[in-house]
Assembly symmetry: C2
């Protein structure tokens, strides 16, 4: 690893340490300064973005990627609105999560603190850079950013604008660092001791590559094979729009539904409704053979279809005989991301919620709601599909660690030990 | 991996799934049954333990290891008492951590659920086996246990007794599995998809080996180079016993203090006090050269002494000019485990708590309090020194993951999107 890069990482850590000790107010002011600076520099940012878009078009980049790459007025207003919302959330630093008296005057607290320095590798989406940077600043963490190379000019300008906007604050500008090359990413993966957490976003293969090539803890944002199960007790008219929304509202998203399971008792009523609603919106339907007569617009599904994350206007449909069978299907085919049940039956909803082992388990709404903004987390750095630390949309909370703080008056373990030792009274205190 | 072992792991997962859906009451009854069965079988257990002890002695095993290996009446009563305490803690399953209304009648909850199947590799301590098994049962997790080989006979008997005690419950006996050989451990490390979390305890080298040889998430319980800093504003008479306790109460523990930092302004008063108190208890003191005249029982310290986890009646001592210097020393020499400040000055205590980046940061008490039982967590599976998921003593909470549960009435993302979309009102609800 180049010494220059190590020096940069060390600078991020020093600035992060200062940032972690700032007041709520200073971080809010810095965020407002950041939003203002981005608004003021929008002509320059758009000019850099135009360069990136032109180069991407010349390279034959697909439309979906171009759409994400474009940093428009719309996205600008959305990210600055996001920053305002972040400022309205409670300060995530120093919050007491547990408080317990071990003995009179001997108080244990579990309090939140920033993790330290976070390395984030993400797709070519300049609006995501602003979101991630603002989450890092609000949560008191240093951030090292590597965005998709198609956005290199836009990202460079954004980091420059953000650094300038915060340079007058007590923690300075070095809490945020942009890196660009493949070599820099390899150095980031090797930066154990300098970086506390890596958050890679992208394909499963890429997330796996990161996990296999670093000793730094990783929160993986991997694929989403999401399923919506329509139970025999569903209110079909009410939930049909949510089923359609789950598929079509943004099919390229990881929280879009790929598979519909329908209880066989309602198949004759619901499958024609679903067939019509989805085919009207140009969704290609892969249905199991037995239900093809009920879904005239469908083609016959293969077993592989039920293991496929289409990320497109395409879905797989089959029937199940019970909520138990639906859960089994999801456990063996899904990706533990987001799954929904449509039902008016509380027992079935409870069973589904308890048994489906996914980050997000929804009842009677679209799987597309799995999102940090919609959840009220103040944006997200990703949606975690692993079970440790953070699960589902990762907002401010996922960027915090905790410390146990024990405050006493000279207590010794010896006096609480052995047959005649004092007992602990372990009294929970109001937080 | 042998098919037989995979089959066993699958059985653990099936039983864990049943266990995760049991009532608080059933798990409490099972724990009581487990405690009773261990008491009833104590003659058999002690007989197996005697075999292990005899073999270990014949192999020239060190006294400290023999001491941990012995499963005495004392330890038996301590683990059964631990089980009773676990039963008194609130059910960890299904607890609501966050609750928010996204819009009227559209409710988001973050609720706790068991992680699934946990693989635990630990030292030759039969009492630890019972503690870990009872934490797993209380938290609704399946557990695969590999204890130190010196305890093989005792462990085999304990697992047998525990399995028999729970076989009559709805989840059966297969939630707990004991494995023994090196090959079994290698299979465990490769069991991605069957095992959700590994918790290795042991040397740093061993924990590192596990992390480097598995794709399963790991909570590492690594070394503890703990420091106690005595500030210029300490109440010296009051805190001297806590300093001594931190060193001598159980020197082989990871939370024993290895280094004392003393503010130079109180060095002339406090160092002779510390010298006397520690040398009276047979502690070998390594002091920096400049303070040797104040610590007549000390030998001169090398720089290496301040990087050493003695795990014995030995410590290193130096002075610092400020609380800032103390924090810098701890950040560069410590292991982010447990560090303490002794002071009556609230600003210095706050600074220390905010800046020392360790799992446990204590004020005016012994570092030896870093422990799940003492913290009121109902025992611990280990003390995590990493910053993600669980930090410090890992009790029931560390064995839980969460799910986001969103319950609505057919809501679509489309209706909340775009210029005319409904806003979310994100109203926090009482938990």
């Amino acid at each position: 690893m180049s010494n220059k890069l190590i020096d940069s990482f060390i600078k991020v850590r020093s600035a992060a340490s200062l940032l972690s000790a700032t007041s709520d107010n200073e971080r809010k002011l810095a965020l407002k300064g950041m939003a203002d600076a981005i608004m003021s520099a929008k002509a320059e940012i758009f000019a850099e973005n135009a360069k990136d878009l032109e180069a991407a078009k010349a390279n034959g980049t697909p439309d979906a990627v171009l759409h994400r790459l474009a940093f428009s007025e719309d996205k600008l207003s959305s990210v600055t609105k996001g920053i305002q919302e972040l400022c309205q959330l409670q300060d995530p630093i120093g919050r007491t999560r547990e408080k317990r008296e071990l003995d009179p005057g001997f108080i244990l607290e579990k309090r939140t603190f920033p993790i330290g320095v976070i390395g984030m590798i993400f797709e070519a989406r300049p609006d995501a850079l602003v979101q991630i940077a603002s989450l890092a600043l609000r949560s008191g963490n240093g951030i090292i950013l590597k965005g998709g190379r198609e956005a290199a000019n836009t990202n460079r300008k954004l980091v420059e604008v953000i650094q300038k906007a915060t340079s007058g604050f007590s923690f300075g500008k070095d809490w945020i660092l942009g890196i660009e090359s493949h070599e820099d990413v390899d150095a980031l993966l090797k930066a154990e001791g300098y970086v506390d957490l890596l958050i890679p976003r992208g394909s499963n293969a890429f997330v796996r590559y990161v996990m296999d090539n670093t000793r730094i803890p990783v929160i993986g944002h991997a694929d989403g094979l999401c399923t919506t199960y329509v139970d025999e007790y569903a209110d079909l008219e009410k939930i049909l729009p949510a089923c359609v929304d789950a598929k079509i509202q943004y099919p390229a998203a990881c929280n879009a539904t790929e598979t519909f399971l329908v209880h066989e008792k309602i198949a004759e009523t619901f499958l024609p409704m679903l067939d019509r609603a989805l085919s009207d919106r140009n969704v290609m339907i892969h249905a199991e053979k037995a239900i093809l007569p009920l879904m005239p617009h469908a083609v016959e599904a293969t077993e592989q279809d039920f293991h496929t994350e289409y990320l497109a206007l395409e879905c797989a449909v089959r029937t199940v005989a019970s909520v138990q069978e639906a859960v089994e299907h999801i456990q063996s085919h899904g990706s533990h991301h987001t799954d929904a049940i449509m039902t008016q039956n509380k027992n079935n909803a409870d069973y589904f919620v308890s048994k489906v082992d996914s980050a997000d388990v929804f009842v009677n709404c679209s799987t597309r709601f799995a999102d940090g903004f919609r959840f009220g987390l103040g944006a997200e750095v990703g949606i975690a599909t692993s079970k440790l630390h953070a699960r589902g949309p990762v907002g401010l909370d996922g960027l915090m660690t905790t410390k146990w703080i024990l405050t006493g008056n000279g207590e010794t373990v010896a006096e609480y030990s052995g047959a005649n030792g004092k007992p602990f009274h372990h009294k929970e205190l109001q937080i």
